[in-house]
Symmetry: C2
Subunit: 281 residues, 2 copies
């Protein structure tokens, strides 16, 4: 059962936040959900947005301006929190880039984390099931897409690449593209999956692209040229991986933009239009 | 001298925050300023936005989505903090609706507050002077407008009504219209100006409208019908005052909207278009 935490009228629709007991994460989890005006009279596709390090379900819904575009195109937008919280795991709140606010969209296998830190299964399976069941009259269950920012851009790409056909489209703002090769990724993958484990490769977009077989993916990525975290994001690795694999990538270098929500909101319309193109067929 | 605190590329322009030593407030004051892309090649009009209770200069610039509309219409947007801060006045941080974050856009006369709490003079005189001087090559100094939310909607109306001709247009989201008649207003006016002082009337829009003489003011106000603070805002008093005085008021009751930034962002485009109509003549 989901519990409504807040509800605000927005662009003719409703921006709501719900909380539910997550079976995957074994703790209460919150998510934002925007219902466009169209959802009052028909079932609408759902776009999942995965947020970056340190974010809760609030950052995206209050700062991105997504509601405007979503209302225009008739899309429901679901934005979960970025990790389990309050699980009383030693050290869970010690770092901004590991533990709380930094679930990294993996299913942990390390003893300390494996009970709660199952964000991959949470966002790809449990959450869509909850959404499709609880909001049955508003949601078109077989039409979903995914996008995200930074750690969540990594999450979005991994979700799409590991589940061919599940998502109609994918896009990302400044994603971590090659986590086995950057400090944030190495810390998170080692911490959740064990040091030097082969399973790291299962959560690395640049490596997953090599073996992807499925419907054509038309990936849209925006990357600011003044992003302070380019050494973590490695957009040139994504370009190379897609080129080698013959995968369609529209990576747009946005001159002068940084890693913030000012960057995200500027290009939000383009991302929502990209998803609408595939979801509103 | 102003000091740049932050700078983010946004919608082809720049969202910046500056800090300066305010002569009126006798303390450092911050303000947000958005430069649209047009400001790189020509002087642009300036719209001042006054925020509501508890806000800093951050709330509006991160949540309202104003940059998108401002970039479209070529308007600079300036959004100051809502009060002096850190002045070591006894009790300045005790209430959400008085002192820090609650300057109420008046010039205080009570002993304890009168040295610092001069937000009326700050936003109508000092801040425009700073903007016009520091950003001389981007700003068209004689074209300015004002709008705001809640306490800041009150501030915007008062600024326009007390300075005929200074602002080319005025608008407000859910303004406090009649502060001498509501709890927030009575507390603030009594606290800053003294109990039962005649000067309260000088900061009450409904009373100022009666004696306004100047260029025609075409006031746009949006008011959510589910606003939790209707008893503080008293929109029906504004309708009556404007009707009695023959002043043009377009008050739009927005069905189901509350007092939040979800409400403000939904109608931001209309307000910016309203100001652009008068500023881009």
């Amino acid at each position: 059962m989901t519990k409504e935490v807040s509800s605000n009228r927005s662009f003719g629709g409703w921006q709501k936040v719900f909380e539910h007991e997550s079976e995957e994460c074994k703790c209460p989890m919150k998510f934002g959900i925007f219902f466009p005006p169209q959802a009052e009279s028909k079932k609408c596709p759902v776009v999942y947005y995965l947020s970056g390090l340190t974010c809760t379900e609030q950052n995206f819904i209050s700062k991105s301006g997504v509601q405007r575009s979503a209302a225009k195109h008739g899309l429901i937008i679901v934005a979960p929190d970025t990790s389990p919280r309050g699980c009383n795991i030693e050290g869970e709140d010690d770092s901004y880039d590991f533990g709380s606010g930094a679930g990294f969209y993996v299913d942990a296998t390390e003893e300390k984390w494996k009970t709660n830190y199952r964000m991959y299964s949470y966002v790809t399976k449990e959450l869509p099931n909850v959404i499709n069941k609880e909001f049955e009259s508003q949601v078109e269950p077989n039409k979903m897409s995914v996008f995200g920012h930074s750690m969540g851009g990594h999450g979005a790409l991994v979700c799409a690449l590991k589940n061919p056909g599940k998502y109609k489209s994918v896009s990302a703002f400044a994603p971590i593209t090659n986590p086995t090769q950057c400090p944030w990724g190495q810390k998170a993958l080692s911490g959740y999956l064990g040091k030097d484990s082969d399973s790291h490769k299962e959560y690395d977009s640049c490596l997953l692209i090599k073996k992807y077989q499925g419907p054509k993916l038309d990936i849209l990525v925006d990357q600011g040229t003044k992003d302070q975290f380019l050494h973590e994001l490695l957009p040139e690795h994504l370009v190379r991986a897609c080129g080698d694999a013959g995968m369609t990538l529209n990576l747009r270098n946005q001159e002068g933009y940084d890693h913030s929500y000012y960057f995200i909101s500027t290009f939000m319309d383009d991302h929502i239009a990209h998803h609408a193109k595939y979801l509103n067929l």
